[in-house]
Subunit: 287 residues, 2 copies
């Protein structure tokens, strides 16, 4: 297992972590200043600065991506909605290519309209079928341009609104169905916040193996957790054993970054400099 206690060359910052403090160009500058070698930006943050400008800034600073957030949200109430989701995912793949991302992360979606409190249907089995068909279609396009897709299982508490794939096992079953050759074109993003509770986690990470393990996201689960979306903890402030999990990932062949992704009203309320410095310190001491 790699020793991270004295450097942060394998640290990546998911840019949602400081999205309320800074625009993306400032985030990239602040990361570069601290020797942070990788980020994972969100599409809306990229769009706010401009795709080409971000690509140029990444080249100039030498910062690479650990992933691009995000594709997915496939289910829809009707065929035009399904087609629109596919078109949007193709655009996300193209953007990921422009930014030379190692993978496009998929938050697959679930009951259409549920995010707005008005689900168009409530058959999660139908949502899962639409997700499977959507990933299959995006995969065909993404293979052609060489962009791997990483299915991110979300915590079951987000099963209605954001993702109907909620365990690593389910994500890997889908990988096996759509990419039985383990070509590297389809894999998973293991976000510990979403999967830490799973008694089958170690076994499923081992099952995934190097070809399927495309990303590793870290933060912590707080007790109590006060909000289903925006109350993630800084590594070390909660109950997840992140070092044990990194051991499982590396034993399975993963050699990429640990990407810090913290949605938190608390941390969004702190100075961005403090957040990044804390991420670096906790990456060394906890991850």
């Amino acid at each position: 297992m790699r020793d991270f206690s004295n450097d942060h060359r394998a640290l990546s910052i998911n840019t949602a972590t400081v999205r309320k403090q800074w625009k993306l160009d400032r985030i990239i500058d602040e990361c570069a200043r601290r020797g942070i070698a990788a980020i994972s930006p969100w599409r809306d943050q990229v769009a706010a600065v401009g795709l080409d400008a971000v690509a140029r800034q990444l080249r100039d600073t030498g910062i690479t991506l650990s992933g691009y957030c995000r594709g997915g949200f496939y289910p829809a109430a009707d065929t035009s909605g399904l087609a629109a989701a596919l078109a949007d995912n193709r655009r996300a793949v193209d953007e990921a290519c422009t930014l030379q991302a190692p993978c496009l992360v998929l938050v697959v979606g679930s009951l259409p309209g549920a995010l707005e409190g008005k689900p168009a249907y409530r058959d999660i089995g139908r949502a899962r079928a639409e997700v499977r068909d959507g990933i299959a279609a995006t995969l065909e396009y993404a293979r052609g341009v060489g962009m791997p897709l990483a299915i991110e299982p979300l915590h079951p508490m987000q099963a209605a609104e954001r993702a109907c794939i909620n365990t690593l096992e389910h994500a890997l079953d889908l990988c096996d169905e759509l990419d039985p050759a383990r070509s590297g074109a389809l894999g998973v993003a293991v976000d510990m916040y979403h999967v830490w509770w799973d008694p089958k986690l170690a076994a499923q990470i081992a099952r995934a193996g190097r070809e399927r393990l495309l990303a590793f996201h870290v933060c912590d689960w707080l007790t109590p957790t006060r909000d289903l979306l925006n109350d993630r903890g800084m590594m070390g402030d909660g109950v997840i054993d992140l070092r044990q999990a990194r051991g499982w990932m590396e034993a399975a062949g993963y050699a990429g970054a640990a990407e810090v992704e913290i949605f938190s009203e608390h941390w969004w309320g702190q100075p961005g400099e403090l957040v990044l410095d804390t991420c670096i310190e906790r990456h060394r001491s906890v991850v």
Copy 2:
């Protein structure tokens, strides 16, 4: 599949549903008045009225139990804490016998102290081992007095504080380990709020079969869900397909009650009469 559209003989009320409106003696009277045939009371509600008084009132009204809430909370920071949990579970078994409950429901517990925001340790694997040992000890005692134990998997969002068994599969694995003969002494409580999201739910209900399916709890998952504990919905107000799930339960041999268990600040703020009448109506129209 049984037709519930014109009667509510298979309806049970978990008494937490109206715990803030009434004490247990009043709850029993209000249920009797409406022809509700079964309840599932909590230990603290029973203690507030008195165990013998409750047993007498149940006999007088003819109301039976669909379960008794609850045993469990096995993990502890030290051996005296572990022993205290076992002693408390024996008392819970005895009370369940006095009330002629068909099963004692187990909310197994997880990281000790996490409920108070101060986990004594953060190794969920250790908590799971302590839970296994605790259930084994309680099972030995419960077999002797003929009281079945029902392991209730809780939603993964409660994995740190309340239960480190979070899927039906995990609960059934434990049943197979501790009661391989499927004697009926150990089984599961299927609470749809906790397990509705699970892609393996139908398969695991079928696997459980008649001997293991000891209880069936219903309410609904709201979108959005605003609180991790006390924002459950009335059947029909959310996204869970309860009739489909009841079909799976009955196909597997379950012939017991559908027990309404709603932890909800909203419904606790309504008149108890309205809550019970709504439970009856929704049981007919939705469950």
